[in-house]
Point group: C2
Chain length 270, copies 2
């Protein structure tokens, strides 16, 4: 079973909490690491957020999120790139070693072209990330999000995309919800050795109640969590494991109850 | 654009129609081929359905569906196999050259084991299919159906599964809704040359309103239909192209209006 020391609380899991509440919740429950969201940081303002995090003693596992590269016009694409450059700066200030890239929706019906825009977008921000010491984690999303969230939808595709860039800066973030079904999962995890920058866990309930907010708490679904986590570890990953859950039913529950359950399930199932 | 002569009406597209109404609808609208569903055949009774089809002069492009191989106990798995053997016999009687295999849901959390049960199931029915002259088309379903409908979820996986059997009997059915997102789609279509037994078209709307009944009419979504159809043709497929749509909104419309729209969109977009 996974070491509780590796648990990181991705703050979207208790979406009702502000960043201040999320930090206090982590401290209260003995969680040492947090995954931050830019919109939550923005609500508080970056300088105050930086101070809050520093004073809490929490480690930051990642900042969500950059990406969103495909767009219809060159001007829009440039705006997206500039936003990613700002996200890198924010990650550095917050002490987040990793910026998660949700690479972006398809533009029009041009899937091949949209994927090229992702490649071009990463190329445009890689140098800045390296200079700031921020890693970029390409997160393959589930294929059901191809049209409206990410044209990068398999671990193989993310790995091949990352391999076009320097290994210390561009890698892959593995979220079990997005890749558990992949017939080539275990061989792909092994092939991603040296490029695995993060691991997210949650679970896939049956039936899936909703395309966007369907994922659930570990052990309330069918994913072989420990098997995947062990495979990721065996491929050399030793970093934090974030629990990231988008689920209205969980969001409606009191945050402290969610955290307690998350800790228990993490130890029992991950 | 695709030749209207290749259009086959998969009867689920107008789910409110009985088999008798579906056959009459095809004849009325000059459609030469139909894809049948076993539940619709059962409602009428096989002998009457056979006679109806014969008298209509329609070609049958496929029978939906066999598969469903994974199950918790050996007895259940044997029952599934026996049902597939019956489906093969029904296909022969109906003049359907192809039985579509929706390979079945995961049993428990054992994805690898479930996939092995699919392989074993196909092995148990292959000889019977060959003797009856029926092709078996492994249909990779979208990965969002892995847990509850099919553990076969990529074209590569379906192709590799089929390649363990004789090429004249076991191949792949490509449904654009299930595979359009695949980063390896076009190379996989080419690799499936000689094993492509069928092609289904529909479209992926944005956002997808429902996991099960979300797919829509051609051109009302984002799939590059003509591009995929041309790639399938270029890989040597010359057979019928079935329109298969699960969509409550379309099911609620009058069948004749759906058929008219389907024909027009087929010519314009496929």
């Amino acid at each position: 079973m996974a070491d509780l020391k590796r648990l990181s609380f991705n703050q979207i899991t208790v979406n009702s909490w502000t960043l201040e509440q999320a930090v206090a919740g982590c401290v209260r429950h003995g969680i040492r690491s947090i995954g931050l969201w830019r919109n939550k940081v923005d609500q508080m303002g970056l300088p105050i957020a930086v101070q809050l995090i520093r004073e809490s003693g929490l480690a930051v596992s990642s900042l969500c999120r950059g990406g969103g590269f495909p767009a219809a016009t060159p001007q829009e694409r440039q705006e997206r790139i500039e936003d990613n450059l700002r996200a890198i700066d924010e990650a550095e200030e917050l002490g987040a070693p990793l910026l998660v890239l949700v690479c972006g929706a398809m533009t029009g019906r041009d899937l091949v072209g949209s994927r090229q825009m992702v490649r071009d977008g990463i190329a445009a921000i890689e140098m800045h990330a390296r200079e700031r010491g921020i890693k970029l984690g390409i997160e393959p999303l589930h294929p059901m999000y191809t049209a409206d969230r990410s044209v990068i939808v398999t671990l193989k595709q993310a790995r091949e995309m990352a391999s076009q860039f320097q290994a210390e800066t561009v890698g892959v973030l593995i979220d079990v919800f997005h890749v558990w079904h992949d017939p080539d999962l275990y061989q792909e995890i092994e092939k991603t050795r040296g490029r695995i920058f993060g691991l997210h866990v949650s679970d896939w309930p049956v039936p899936l109640p909703d395309v966007l907010l369907g994922r659930t708490m570990m052990d309330d679904g069918v994913i072989e969590l420990a098997r995947i986590r062990c495979a990721v570890d065996a491929a050399g990953y030793e970093g934090p494991i974030e629990v990231e859950i988008f689920n209205q039913g969980i969001w409606d529950q009191p945050g402290d109850a969610v955290i307690e359950l998350m800790k228990r399930r993490f130890v029992e199932c991950v």
